[in-house]
Structure formats: structure tokens, C-alpha cells
């Protein structure tokens, strides 16, 4: 075998702390290496041309590139090899940037380490064999999990692209957080006026199947052929009959039911339609609050329902959906501020969250858009807004900036002035983060035109004082303490991962960070992809985002799916297991450990032998580790290939 080695400078990223020329020189000493050189940017056009040229001139049948992580450029170089007429699997990468030059200062040690990583790559390559991908057909349906603005955008774009869409939403209605907002920044246009029509489009688009009050139960299969079980939770109302007239809610006696949609400001009825613009506009019963379901008596709704849709016997139902791709748009949740004892830990009725305040501002909210104190219904005059509640706070495990609180707080001060002209808003902030189009101008307007008083500093404590509240803060610009007596305190609570996000990630086999936000394929180059083929991200499930960014990601994810589905067949990854029949003793250990049921036991000349279902095998190699005979081997990661690497590193 003729092997060529290319050691990349990556500008100064690698060359800065690794002597790439020395590494190339060392490589020349490795078995079967006939050509080795250092190169400025291996991934660049000339860099790739250089590889192709060398392949031709030195009749290389294998190439090692020592540069960045394979997660970055492995596919790039595999294509280069194909252009040079080699098999894409006759290629190995040595990661001498992320794993060497960026983490070590000692040039000598780095150079030595880099050379060794190249050596492992060479030894591995010597064991490589040509692999060719098969093909498999794909199911061109897409599932979108989460019916917030990101999911809605993705669903509509996919449907407009001619795809069959299945939209799954946990709540009784789609709309997500945006449907709870009164107005949006920086345009101050009505949230439901711009979101409402999109929600209606969802309900009217023939390509879209909508499962609300539903959650993903399990996910099987792989890109092109996922099999998703969806749990449709009992609404205790037959939605095929329900007309959404609302008679039931009007007559329901349990009027003290906690109102989720209104963030528990005010109450609702046990049977209800969460809000006027709800999609689908169907009633559902809160089983915890319904007299019939808890005490077995009442049934007022049954009597009044003109459609006879009420079904107390209804049970959860599992629906199975076959799709080829999944877009995850499960959004975010709001930080639970009761962790802050110094802000009353939830004991003070007039210390509320920004989202609760949105509901107070909203014309369709519990107070018909009149700002009233939860405690006594009085109109507040002095209102204090505290930013960074649950953001940028290591001590409670939320070191990150939630990104949108500065903006919505400014919006809320503006709306407050509109609602109550003789009111005064105070905003405690640490820094103003307003890097969007027209965003900083908007913040300025809040201060300049609407007279919101911004105080640079944090609030240390809120203490009740004669029906009002004493806010003890600091003005760090003056270096003095500030005490403000206010009628209402609004906490700009930050964003955190949606409840159950990790559990869903585990079902989808995608990764998430320590806060529960989903990991994108690459922080810059693959913002809506995941490392699991066929699964994409949109919106705040990947990290806090405002509406424009969420919508943009919804569209981006949709276009990724449309791109994926533009082919009729997908190339299967040839890095899968295969059985050497002579060696197989039919013990079925491999079958018992395969997570995907990709192994079946077959008859071969009267003997039981394992055989791999190529389209199902995901290439984890668990079977290879389990096989007592070394009969089943994972291509590209065979025992011999791995041991070759080990032996290279541990010579004696």
C-alpha cells in the first residue's frame, strides 16, 4: 500500500505550537508511507488539489490528513479522495488541532504527540479496506415536535414544499410562548395578530396532521425511516364532534381551576378552551379539577354540549407515525424564581414573572388587558422591573444570558406607560444586551420617550411594607444603595430548557448540554443539524432565542429536510457489521446485545448463523465486542484495525 501523509498548518492554529514539517518528516519513517508533506490549509482548494496531485504522482492508495477534528472535515477529504479516484474509506485523519495544538503550549511535546497521532492513523489505514455504500429508500414524511412559532414555521415551510407533515404539541393548542405574549419587540405589534393567521394556516393545510395534547412516547428507526409512537392524552372530549362553541366552559361549576395558559394569574374552568385563538379550537377537561372525574358527580358539560362530544371514559391513545425526518422545536421554559428567597420565594402576591405580566397586559388575558395587582386588583403606579432573574447567575446554575429579557423588559415598560400614563417604571439591569436590528433604538425609546428609569445594579431584597413593597437595590454607577417603594414587582425571568427536554433527547438519541439545551451539529456550520442523521433543531430548544431567530431556524430546519428528501434514496453508511460464516458458532450473543435488532439468526447448510440486516445496523460495534469468535466485525472498526492502533502506541 502506498500511503501519503499531509500535515496541515491551519494557518498558525497548528503550526503555532506544532512543528508540522518535523511531523511530516517523522511520517516518512512510518511503514508504507511513500509521501509526506506539510501544507498551509489542507482543506482549501489548493490544499485539496495538492492531495489529488500527490495521489496521482505517487500512486497513493491511502491518505492520512493531520489537521482538525474529523467532525469538521472528514467528509471534505473523503470527497477529495473520490475526486482523486480512491475509495473514500481509504482515508484517516489525525486530529492535531483540537487534541494537540489548541490544548498544549510545549512545542516539542506537541510535535511528538502529533507525530504519534499520525502514526496511529497510518497503522489504522494499513488495515482499511474499500467500502461502498448501499442505498435505501426513504419515507418523505416529516414530524415536527413542538407547536411554538419555530415549529409552526417549520411545519408550514415543509408543507408548502409538498411534504406530509405531522405536528406534535404537548399543550391542547399550538402557539407556544408567543401565543401568551401581548405585544412583540421592537415593533410593538400584537403578538396574536401576527401568530394567529399562521396557526389557522396550520389547521387548514391539508398536508399537516396535528396532534395536540400529545407527547412523543418512543422513537425507533433511523434517518429516512423513523417510527414514532405518539401518546394522545385523553381530552375527555371527542374532538371529531367538538365544535368549540364553549357552552361547556360557560356551565362548568369548578371555576377555581388553575389557569396554565394564563400562567396561573386568575383561574379557569375544569373544561375549557385555553384561549380564544386556540388551534385546534377544541375543549378539553383538566381531570384533576373535574368534579365528574374526581368525585363522580356533576356532568354539567354533558347536559349543555350540543354536539354530545363529552366522553368521561376517554383514555390516552398511542398513535404510530412513520416519518423520514424529525424537526425538534420544543422551545424553552421559564426559570422558577422561587429559588430566590430574597425576592420572597413566591410568598409575595405582587411579585410576579414577566410572562404573568404579559397576561395582565393582554386584552385576552384574565384582566382584559387592565393591569391589576394580583393581591387587591388595584392599578399599580410604581412598578419595578428586575432583570437577570435566573440569568447570569452561577450560584443557581444559570450562568448564561437568556438574551431576550432586556428587550421584553423595555417593551413592558413602554406598554406600562401606554396602559397607565401616570405610572413610573424602574428597571434594575446589569448590562443591556440589545444586539438585534432596531433593538438598541427600542431600548433608548423606552428611556427617552417613555421615561422608564434604568438603574444600573442588582436588587438584593424585596420586603413587604404596608401593602406595598420595599425594593432594596444598588446604583453601581453612583455607588450608593437605592430603595424604591413599589406597588408591583416584575421579575424578568430567564429561559431554561423545556421540562422533559433530556428525556426526549434520550428517545431521539441526540445530545444535550448540562442545562438541557440540545446540541447542534456544529456551533457555527451546523446550527440546525444534530449529530443524529435526519433529526434537526429549531428555536429555543437549542438555546434561548427571540422570535425572529426562532422563525429563521424553523425555516432553516425545513429547508434541510426538503434538501434531504430531494433524493429518492439515501446512501447507507457502509460502516456496519458483517459476519464471517466459517467463524460464527451461532451462539446469538451478538443478537442479544444489538440495540437495534439488526441481527437475525439464519440457517446456513443446516447450521445456525448470525446475519446482519444492513439497513437496520447503525454501526455501534456492540456485537463485535460481544462475539466470542471474532466472527462478527464492524467494518472500519474491526478488532485488527483497533489493535493496530493500540500496538502502534504500545510497541512492546
Amino acid at each position: 500500500m502506498n500511503i501519503g501523509v499531509f500535515v496541515c498548518h491551519c494557518g498558525s492554529n497548528i503550526e503555532g505550537t506544532v512543528d508540522t514539517a518535523a511531523v511530516a518528516k517523522a511520517a516518512m519513517g512510518y511503514p508504507e508511507v511513500v509521501f509526506a508533506t506539510d501544507t498551509m490549509y489542507a482543506c482549501s482548494e489548493p490544499g485539496q488539489a495538492g492531495i489529488i496531485e500527490a495521489v496521482r504522482n505517487y500512486e497513493l492508495d491511502g491518505v492520512v490528513v493531520a489537521s482538525c477534528t474529523p467532525r469538521m472535515h472528514e467528509t471534505t477529504f473523503r470527497r477529495t479522495l473520490e475526486r482523486a479516484g480512491l475509495n473514500r474509506y481509504m482515508f484517516e485523519m489525525a486530529n492535531i488541532r483540537e487534541h494537540v495544538s489548541w490544548i498544549g503550549k510545549d512545542r516539542a511535546a506537541n510535535t511528538n504527540k502529533a507525530a504519534e497521532l499520525v502514526m496511529i492513523a497510518v497503522e489504522k489505514l494499513r488495515q482499511n479496506t474499500e467500502l461502498t455504500a448501499g442505498e435505501f429508500s426513504i419515507n418523505k414524511r416529516v414530524m415536527i415536535i413542538g407547536g411554538g412559532v419555530a415549529g409552526i414555521q417549520a411545519a408550514l415551510d415543509c408543507a408548502d414544499g409538498g411534504l406530509e407533515v405531522v405536528l406534535v404539541e404537548r399543550e391542547p393548542s399550538i402557539g407556544g410562548k408567543m401565543s401568551k405574549l401581548d405585544k412583540t419587540f421592537p415593533t410593538v405589534d400584537c403578538s396574536s395578530c401576527i401568530l394567529g393567521p399562521r396557526m389557522v394556516d396550520i389547521s387548514q393545510n391539508p398536508n399537516i396532521t396535528l396532534h395536540t395534547l400529545s407527547e412523543v412516547e418512543s422513537v425507533d428507526g433511523f434517518v429516512g425511516n423513523f417510527n414514532v409512537k405518539v401518546r394522545r392524552k385523553a381530552a375527555y372530549v371527542d374532538w371529531t364532534l367538538c365544535t368549540g362553541c364553549g357552552e361547556c366552559a360557560a356551565k362548568c361549576p369548578s371555576k377555581k381551576t388553575p389557569d396554565r395558559f394564563n400562567e396561573f394569574v386568575g383561574t379557569t374552568t375544569a373544561i375549557n378552551i385555553p384561549f380564544p385563538q386556540a388551534i385546534p379550537k377544541k375543549a378539553s377537561i383538566n381531570p384533576a379539577a373535574c368534579l365528574m372525574l374526581t368525585k363522580g358527580k356533576c356532568g354539567a358539560c354533558v347536559k349543555v354540549c350540543p354536539a354530545g362530544a363529552i366522553q368521561f371514559t376517554q383514555e390516552d391513545e398511542i398513535v404510530t407515525e412513520e416519518v423520514g425526518a424529525i424537526i425538534v422545536a420544543t422551545g424553552y421554559d421559564l426559570f422558577d424564581f422561587t429559588k430566590y428567597g430574597e425576592y420572597g420565594g413566591g410568598r409575595y402576591p405582587d411579585v410576579i414573572t414577566s410572562m404573568q405580566y404579559e397576561r395582565l397586559l393582554s386584552a385576552s388575558g384574565p384582566t382584559e388587558g387592565h393591569i391589576k395587582r394580583p393581591s387587591d386588583g388595584k392599578e399599580p403606579k410604581d412598578i419595578v422591573f428586575i432583570q437577570c432573574v435566573g440569568s447570569r447567575d452561577k450560584s443557581i446554575g444559570r450562568p448564561y444570558c437568556s438574551g431576550f429579557c432586556c428587550m421584553y423588559t423595555a417593551k413592558q415598560t413602554i406598554l406600562t406607560k401606554d396602559h397607565i400614563p401616570d405610572s413610573q417604571s424602574y428597571v434594575f439591569y446589569m448590562d443591556i444586551r440589545s444586539p438585534g436590528k432596531g433593538y438598541d433604538e427600542f431600548i433608548r425609546r423606552a428611556m427617552e420617550e417613555y421615561g422608564a428609569r434604568y438603574i444600573r445594579g442588582r436588587v438584593s431584597a424585596i420586603q413587604p411594607k404596608g401593602g406595598r413593597y420595599l425594593i432594596k437595590g444598588v446604583n453601581t454607577l453612583m455607588g450608593d444603595q437605592v430603595e424604591i417603594e413599589a406597588d408591583l414587582v416584575v421579575l424578568a425571568v430567564g429561559a431554561e430548557a423545556s421540562k422533559g427536554a433530556p428525556e426526549l433527547a434520550e428517545k431521539l438519541r441526540i445530545s444535550y448540554d448540562s442545562y438541557g439545551f440540545y446540541m447542534e451539529g456544529h456551533p457555527k456550520l451546523k446550527p440546525v443539524e444534530t449529530n443524529t442523521a435526519g433529526i434537526y433543531l429549531a428555536g429555543s430548544c437549542q438555546g434561548p432565542k427571540d422570535i425572529p431567530s426562532s422563525v429563521a431556524q424553523g425555516g432553516a430546519a425545513a429547508s434541510k429536510v426538503l434538501g434531504l428528501f430531494s433524493k429518492d434514496k439515501l446512501a447507507s453508511d457502509p460502516q456496519i457489521s458483517s459476519v464471517t460464516l466459517q467463524r460464527c458458532i451461532g451462539c446469538a450473543k451478538c443478537q442479544s446485545v444489538c440495540p437495534f435488532g439488526a441481527i437475525e439468526m439464519t440457517e446456513f447448510r443446516g447450521m445456525t448463523k448470525a446475519s446482519v440486516i444492513a439497513t437496520v445496523c447503525q454501526g455501534c460495534g456492540n456485537c463485535t465486542s460481544a462475539c466470542p469468535q471474532g466472527a462478527i466485525q464492524l467494518s472500519h472498526f474491526t478488532d485488527n484495525q483497533i489493535l493496530a492502533e493500540v500496538n502502534a502506541l504500545c510497541p512492546y
Binding site: Y340, G341, G345, Q463, P464
Partner: protein, 298 residues
């Protein structure tokens, strides 16, 4: 409840300005079946001055008491005084660092493990005896008495060292006092600072800070303040006149130690409870309660 043995660290104020806290605490623990054994020949922990001057000195002074207690075969060390408690626990916390542990032993001149559990009397009361037990003992509940509980700043701060109750809204005192029939009013200044040891040196600071506490207590409609800290009690009680003078206020709020009220509710009176040691006399208040305790006093 298994009868637990504790090494008892009274703290210097227990022999002086807060005798009644010390004696009523001993009485209370005896009633509730704790065996308190004084740390023989204990020395002052150095209080604020020591840690304000040098952490090694402070730790070494504390460590002598720890070392003595370690030869005592007890379940732990308890003290009624939050300031002592903070010094004891902080020292233990810092001695987790081997280098510091070594330094302290060098200065102390003997070996110390610093591994005995260290708790406030209040904590063992809640955790070992339990609220129900205290309620059972209270044969003469102090019904009608309205108080605000004042924990002071360091009873459970910093939380990762003290590891007891909520640092912002502690409830231990609230629950105990409620259990013995007292009406506990919501009090926002529960953990605000009274000015602590600045009493002597910067009276103005204490007048302002303790003044706030007295004002807030009065505004809340409390008949009295209940404390768990000798320094707080001294600033609020002994200095109440000073504070009134400085602030032009006219408070006459008795400032009890919680241990006194528990004993009172248990129908106990007299020397050990030391109600007569309070500078702002509580007797008219107690007799106005008309409760048997009141009559017994009048």
C-alpha cells in the same frame, strides 16, 4: 428519641451579658433530654475580632475547644451563640484544606481532627427533639402573645458552611414559637444585621440597624421580639434606650431568647429562665396575657 450527648460550648457572653440565654438553654435541653457536657476549660473562640485580625489565629483558638471536645465521647458540639457557631463551623470548613489543618495544629501545638458534628442548639432542637415534642412539653401555651422572630444575620449564613434552614427565610424559630401557642407575625427583617459588634465602637451604626429592626417589629404589631443570638439580644434590649435616644423613637419592646419562651410555655419559671435579666421588662406584657404564666408572675 435516643438521648444524645453533646459537648456544650456556652461562649463568653453566656457568662456575662447573656447569662439568661445560657441558663434557660441548659434548662430547656435538660427538659428535652439532651445531655449537655460543658467542654472542660473551654476558651473564647475569638469572636469577630479574631477572624478580623487573622484567620489562622481565629482557627487556632477555636481548634483548642474542638480538640478538647474530641476526647469527650459525645455526638457532637453544640452552642447557643451564632457568632461562636460561625467560628466553630468556619474553622472546621477551612480545616478541610490539609495545608491549613497542618498550620492550625502547628499553632495549637496539638493534634485536632475537627470532624465532630457542630450544630446550634436551635438545630438539634428542631432535628433531634422535633417540633411535636416541643409542643407536647408546652403545658402552658403562650396564647395571645404576638411576636416577630429575629434570627440575626449569621444563624444560617453562609449557607454552604452553616447548612441549616433557609438563609433568606429561615423557619425554625417560627415553627417552634407557633408550636408553643405564640402568634408569629410575618417579619421581613428576620435575617437583617443588627450592627453586631460595632455596638461599642460605632454606636451610630447599631442605632440605625437595630433601630430598623425595632421599628419594623413595632410596625408589624408585635408585643415582643424573639432572638436566638446574644449579640442581637444585647443590641436590641440593653441598647434599646440608646437607640430610642439616637432615633427619637419610644420603643419598649421586650426582647426574649426563644429558650426563655419555651421554658415559660413548659410552665417553668424562676432563676434559670432569667426573665428578670431582660433590660426591657417583659412582666407587664406577660401578665397582660392573663395566661397562667402571666398570673404566676404578677
Amino acid at each position: 428519641m435516643t438521648r444524645s450527648r453533646y459537648a456544650y460550648y456556652p461562649g463568653c457572653s453566656g457568662q456575662g451579658t447573656s447569662r439568661e440565654y445560657d441558663s434557660s438553654t441548659r434548662a430547656m435541653c435538660q427538659d428535652l433530654g439532651f445531655e449537655l457536657i460543658d467542654i472542660p476549660d473551654w476558651n473564647c473562640c475569638g469572636s469577630t475580632p479574631a477572624h478580623a485580625v487573622d484567620h489562622l489565629l481565629s482557627a487556632s483558638l477555636v481548634a483548642r475547644n474542638l480538640a478538647i471536645a474530641e476526647d469527650m465521647d459525645v455526638d457532637g458540639i453544640i452552642t447557643p451563640c451564632p457568632s461562636c457557631l460561625k467560628n466553630l463551623k468556619t474553622t472546621q470548613h477551612r480545616m478541610l484544606r490539609p495545608e491549613f489543618h497542618a498550620e492550625v495544629q502547628k499553632v495549637l501545638g496539638r493534634v485536632v481532627r475537627a470532624d465532630l458534628p457542630i450544630k446550634s442548639v436551635l438545630q438539634v432542637l428542631v432535628e433531634d427533639a422535633g417540633i411535636e415534642r416541643i409542643a407536647q412539653e408546652s403545658t402552658a401555651p403562650l396564647t395571645g402573645l404576638k411576636v416577630v422572630p429575629y434570627y440575626g444575620c449569621i444563624m444560617n449564613r453562609p449557607p454552604d458552611v452553616m447548612r441549616f434552614d433557609d438563609p433568606e427565610n429561615p423557619m425554625a424559630l417560627d415553627n417552634i414559637l407557633t408550636a408553643i401557642g405564640i402568634e408569629v407575625l410575618p417579619f421581613a427583617l428576620k435575617t437583617d444585621c443588627c450592627g453586631a459588634s460595632l455596638g461599642t465602637t460605632r454606636r451610630d451604626v447599631v442605632a440605625r440597624l437595630s433601630g430598623r429592626v425595632l421599628d419594623a417589629a413595632a410596625a408589624a404589631g408585635a408585643d415582643a421580639i424573639v432572638t436566638a443570638c446574644p449579640l442581637c439580644q444585647m443590641n436590641l434590649d440593653m441598647r434599646q434606650a440608646q437607640i430610642n435616644k439616637a432615633n427619637g423613637s419610644h420603643h419598649r419592646l421586650p426582647v426574649f431568647y426563644y429558650s426563655q419562651l419555651i421554658m415559660l410555655a413548659a410552665g417553668q419559671l424562676g432563676e434559670r429562665i432569667g426573665l428578670d435579666k431582660l433590660c426591657v421588662s417583659p412582666f407587664s406584657l406577660l401578665s397582660s396575657l392573663g395566661s397562667q404564666t402571666g398570673e404566676a408572675r404578677s
